[in-house]
C-alpha cells in the first residue's frame, strides 16, 4: 500500500490529518497545472481548494481504479468547468507575475539574461493562456504536468485517439503563436 492509499484509508477511518497530508503532497502540483488551465492565480487557488474539499467530502467514492492524483485532477477540472472558469483569463499570469515579481529566474544569470528569461516566460504563458480552453487543458496536462495519454484521457474523459489528435492540434496552434519566440531559440 503506497502512501496515498494509506492516507486515504486513514482519512476514511476518521483521521482527517491523513487527508491533510494528501493536500500538502499534491497542492502545488495541482496548482501549477490548474493555474495554466484557468489562467488566473486566484481562480486556480480556489479551484485547487475546492477540488480538495470535494475530494474529501466524496472520498468514500474513490475506488482506487485510478491513481488518487488522477481522480483529484478530474475533480479539479470539473470544478473549473462548473464554476465557469473556462473563460479567457481576466488577470493574466503575466500581469500577476509582473506585479509580484515572483517569476523565478536563474539566480546565476546576469540581469540581461534574467530579463530575457522573464520575457520569454511571459510570452509563452501569454500564448498558452490565449489558446482555447480545450487546447490549454490538454497541453498543460501533457507538457506542464507530464501526464501520459492514458491519464489525460481519464482526466478529461476523452478517448485516447481524441487526446492524440487534440494534443497535436494544440501544439500546432501554440507553435504558430510562438513562432517568433521559437525561431529566436
Amino acid at each position: 500500500m503506497n502512501d496515498d492509499s494509506q492516507w486515504i484509508a486513514e482519512a476514511l477511518a476518521g483521521k482527517s490529518a491523513a487527508f491533510g497530508q494528501l493536500v500538502r503532497k499534491y497542492q502545488d502540483r495541482l496548482y501549477n497545472t490548474v493555474v495554466h488551465v484557468v489562467g488566473c492565480e486566484e481562480d486556480a487557488r480556489d479551484v485547487v481548494q475546492e477540488a480538495f474539499v470535494q475530494a474529501f467530502v466524496k472520498l468514500e467514492t474513490f475506488q482506487h481504479a485510478s491513481a488518487f492524483y488522477t481522480w483529484l485532477y478530474r475533480i479539479a477540472f470539473n470544478v473549473a468547468v462548473s464554476h465557469g472558469r473556462k473563460k479567457r483569463p481576466k488577470i493574466s499570469l503575466e500581469q500577476t507575475r509582473e506585479a509580484t515579481g515572483q517569476e523565478p529566474v536563474d539566480g546565476q544569470a546576469d540581469p540581461s539574461q534574467q530579463a530575457e528569461q522573464t520575457e520569454r516566460c511571459r510570452q509563452v504563458r501569454e500564448a498558452l493562456a490565449a489558446l482555447p480552453e480545450e487546447y490549454r487543458s490538454i497541453l498543460t496536462l501533457r507538457e506542464i504536468d507530464g501526464c501520459c495519454y492514458e491519464t489525460i484521457a481519464e482526466i478529461l474523459d476523452l478517448p485516447i485517439g481524441t487526446v492524440r489528435s487534440r494534443l497535436h492540434r494544440a501544439r500546432l496552434e501554440l507553435r504558430d503563436q510562438l513562432k517568433e519566440v521559437l525561431i529566436d531559440d
Binding site: 490529518a17 497530508q21 480556489d46 472558469r85 498558452l128 507538457e143
Partner: protein, 615 residues
C-alpha cells in the same frame, strides 16, 4: 498518409505514444521528408519550452482550510458550493444600493438621504503583537483549539474548530485591547443618544462583568460560541455603555444566547428562523428584516482611534457602536478575514504590502478593530463623507460592501473584496468567479451557523452527525462511482465528537458566567433603570411604535478598521520586556481599571459629552 502538419503521429512520436507500427511509419517519413524533420524539431522545441516554464507554487498550506470547509460542508449537508442563484439575490436591498453608490468614486459626493435611526455595537479587535506565536498561513484556518500550532503531521480539527481558533486569537486581541488605547468599550455610553438608549437586561448584566485577566488563549482550548444568533432587530438592543466584554469569563456569546425581552428565545430567534423565512420565500425578507450588513472598511491611525477622533465622527452622525452577539461577530470577522485575503490576491503594486497586513493579521504590524453599529443609509453616508473630509482620521478611502447577515443569501454575487470604486451590483461589479466563489464560501460559513445554534438549543450532536451523513449521501458521487458512506460517518462522528466536547466546555463556562452575572446584577440594575428612563428601549422592550419602526429601518453596519500605526503595541511590548512582570501586571491593572469603573457607571446621556451634530 496525411500531409505533414496535420499528422498527429508527430506529437505521439514526440511523446513516445506510438505503437510499433506507427513508430516504424514515422521513422520512414522522417528519413525521407525534410518538412517532417522540421516539424518534429519545432514541436520538440515547443515542448521543451513549455516544460522549462518555472513551476508555480502556492504560498500557503491549504490543508487546514480544506478540512475546515469540507467539514462545514458535510455538517451542513452541502456537497458542493452552491451556485450563485439569481433568485436568491435580493434585488432591492437598501444597503446594496447604498454600497453600490458609495463604492463608486464619482459618487463619493454625498446626496442627502432622509432616514431615521438607532444602533448597534462595537468591538475592539486589536491585532497581533510581538510575542504571539504566528497564526497559520490564513487567519481562518481550522486548527484544533488544543493544537493551535499543530505541525503538518498533527491532526487538525475540522468544522467548528475553525471559529474556535479564530475566536481564541480574537479574544486574546480583545483582551489586549483593554487599556491599550486607554479606553474601553465601557466608555461608549457617550455615544448613545439619550433618547435612543437601548436597554437589554441580560446584556447589561454581561457588561457589568469586569474583564478577566488576560489568558493565553492560544494555548488553551477555546470552544466556538454556539449561541443562536438573534435577528438583527433583536440583536440591536445592547447598551453601548455596557460593553465590558470579550473575556473568557464574560463571553459576549452569552448575550446572544439569552433572549431579550419581547423576543423569541432559542433557535426561533436565530439562524433557524432566518432559514425558515428563506424557505417561505424570500421576497419579503429584504424588506422586513435587516438581513444585510454593510461593511465599511478603512485604514485608521492608532492616534485617531485612541484620541476618539474616529468615534467623534460616528457620534456626530448619531451612530452608536454597540455590542453584537459573539457568534455573529465571529461570523462577520471570519468573513472579513476571508475578504481581506481575496484583496491580497487581487491587488498589486504599492498597495500590496498593506493588503498583506490585512490578509495576515498575525504579522507584526497592524490590528483590526471592528465597530458594530446600526444605522440608516443617511447616517452611513454622513459618516463616510466626514471621514473623507478628514484625512487625519482615515488613511484610506473607506470601502463599502454588503453581505447577508442571516440566511446567507443577501450577498451572493456581491463583491466583498471590491476595492474603492468597484461596483457592487451584478451589473457593474465585475466580480471574478474567484470572488464569487469566495463570497459563496463566506456565505456558506455563515449558513453553517444554524448547526451551532441547533447544537446550543439542545440538539443531540449525534443527530447533527446523522443529518450530515444523510445529506452527504444524497449529494451524489464524483465520477459516478457511488460507494457506501461509512467513512463519512467516521469523519462526521469525529467532528461531532469534538463539537460535543466543545459544547460541554461551553456549558461549563456559561454556568460560571451566570454566577458571575448574578453578582453583578445589583449594580447593573441601576444602569438599566437609568437607560430605561432615557426612553430608548428597543422594540419589544417598551419603545413606541415610531421608534420601533425607526429601529427596523436601521440595519447593521460593521466598521472594519485597520490600524496602521502599530507603535503603541510595540511600545507596550517594550515596557513589558524591560520592566518584567511587575510592570506588566501594572499595565494589566491599568487596562482593567477603567473598564471596571466604566462598567459600573450608569450610562451617560450622549448629549453630556458629545452632542450629536445636526445631520
Amino acid at each position: 498518409m496525411r500531409n505533414v502538419p496535420e499528422n498527429e503521429l508527430f506529437s505521439a512520436y514526440l511523446d513516445g505514444e506510438l505503437t510499433a507500427a506507427e513508430q516504424a511509419e514515422m521513422e520512414r517519413l522522417l528519413a525521407t521528408s525534410p518538412a517532417a524533420r522540421q516539424l518534429l524539431e519545432e514541436l520538440r522545441t515547443l515542448s521543451s519550452t513549455l516544460q522549462s516554464l518555472p513551476a508555480l507554487k502556492l504560498d500557503e498550506d491549504l490543508s487546514q482550510q480544506v478540512l475546515r470547509v469540507a467539514e462545514q460542508r458535510m455538517l451542513s449537508g452541502q456537497t458542493e458550493p452552491g451556485p450563485v442563484l439569481p433568485d436568491l439575490m435580493p434585488s432591492t436591498g437598501r444597503w446594496q444600493s447604498l454600497a453600490r453608490r458609495l463604492s463608486r468614486p464619482r459618487v463619493w459626493i454625498w446626496p442627502a438621504l432622509a432616514a431615521s435611526a438607532a444602533l448597534l455595537l462595537a468591538v475592539l479587535f486589536p491585532g497581533p503583537r510581538a510575542g504571539i506565536p504566528p497564526l497559520p498561513a490564513k487567519p481562518d484556518l481550522a486548527l484544533a483549539p488544543a493544537l493551535p500550532h499543530s505541525g503538518p503531521t498533527e491532526e487538525p480539527s475540522i468544522g467548528p474548530a475553525a471559529p474556535a481558533a479564530v475566536k481564541s486569537v480574537s479574544e486574546k486581541r480583545e483582551m489586549d485591547a483593554f487599556g491599550r488605547d486607554g479606553r474601553s468599550l465601557a466608555e461608549k455610553p457617550a455615544f448613545m443618544p439619550q433618547r435612543r438608549a437601548m436597554v437589554r437586561k441580560d446584556a447589561l448584566a454581561d457588561s457589568s462583568q469586569p474583564p478577566a485577566a488576560p489568558v493565553d488563549t492560544l494555548s488553551a482550548p477555546a470552544p466556538p460560541a454556539a449561541a443562536p444568533m438573534p435577528m438583527a432587530g433583536q440583536a440591536a438592543a445592547v447598551a453601548a455603555g455596557g460593553v465590558a466584554k470579550s473575556t473568557e469569563a464574560n463571553r459576549p456569546s452569552e448575550v446572544g444566547a439569552r433572549p431579550m425581552k419581547g423576543a423569541k428565545a432559542g433557535p426561533e430567534s436565530g439562524w433557524r428562523f432566518a432559514k425558515e423565512r428563506l424557505k417561505e420565500g424570500r421576497g419579503d425578507v429584504a424588506e422586513k428584516s435587516a438581513d444585510e450588513v454593510l461593511f465599511v472598511r478603512c485604514d485608521v491611525t492608532a492616534e485617531s482611534l485612541a484620541n476618539g477622533a474616529f468615534r467623534q465622527v460616528l457620534t456626530r452622525r448619531q451612530i452608536q457602536p454597540v455590542e453584537a452577539p459573539a457568534d455573529e461577530r465571529e461570523a462577520f470577522e471570519r468573513v472579513a478575514g476571508d475578504v481581506s485575503i481575496v484583496e491580497k490576491k487581487s491587488k498589486a503594486g504599492p498597495e500590496a504590502s498593506q493588503t498583506e497586513l490585512l490578509a495576515k493579521p498575525s504579522g507584526s504590524l497592524g490590528r483590526i478593530v471592528y465597530l458594530y453599529a446600526r444605522a440608516t443609509p443617511a447616517q452611513v453616508e454622513g459618516v463616510l463623507a466626514d471621514l473623507n473630509a478628514q484625512p487625519s482620521v482615515v488613511a484610506s478611502q473607506p470601502r463599502v460592501s454588503v453581505m447577508a447577515r442571516s440566511a446567507g443569501y443577501g450577498a451572493l454575487g456581491l463583491s466583498l473584496s471590491g476595492k474603492a470604486g468597484a461596483g457592487m451590483d451584478k451589473a457593474d461589479r465585475n466580480t471574478s468567479p474567484c470572488e464569487e466563489m469566495q463570497n459563496v464560501q463566506n456565505l456558506r460559513n455563515l449558513q453553517n451557523q444554524p448547526s451551532l445554534a441547533e447544537s446550543a438549543a439542545g440538539e443531540v450532536p449525534g443527530n447533527l452527525m446523522q443529518n450530515a451523513q444523510s445529506r452527504s449521501r444524497a449529494g451524489g458521487a464524483i465520477g459516478g462511482n457511488e460507494a457506501p458512506d461509512q467513512s463519512q460517518v467516521s469523519r462526521s462522528r469525529a467532528a461531532s465528537g469534538m463539537r460535543q466536547q466543545r459544547e460541554g466546555e461551553r456549558e461549563t463556562r456559561r454556568r460560571g458566567d451566570a454566577e458571575t452575572r448574578r453578582e453583578g446584577d445589583a449594580e447593573t440594575k441601576d444602569r438599566q433603570l437609568g437607560q430605561k428612563a432615557a426612553g430608548g428601549e428597543m422594540a419589544g422592550v417598551g419603545g413606541g411604535m415610531a421608534e420601533r419602526e425607526e429601529a427596523q429601518a436601521k440595519q447593521q453596519v460593521v466598521f472594519v478598521l485597520r490600524v496602521l500605526d502599530a507603535e503603541p503595541i510595540a511600545a507596550e511590548e517594550n515596557v513589558r520586556a524591560k520592566s518584567g512582570q511587575a510592570k506588566a501586571a501594572a499595565v494589566d491593572a491599568a487596562r482593567v481599571a477603567p473598564v471596571e469603573a466604566k462598567a459600573s457607571e450608569p450610562a451617560k446621556p450622549a448629549a453630556a459629552s458629545a452632542p450629536p451634530a445636526k445631520q
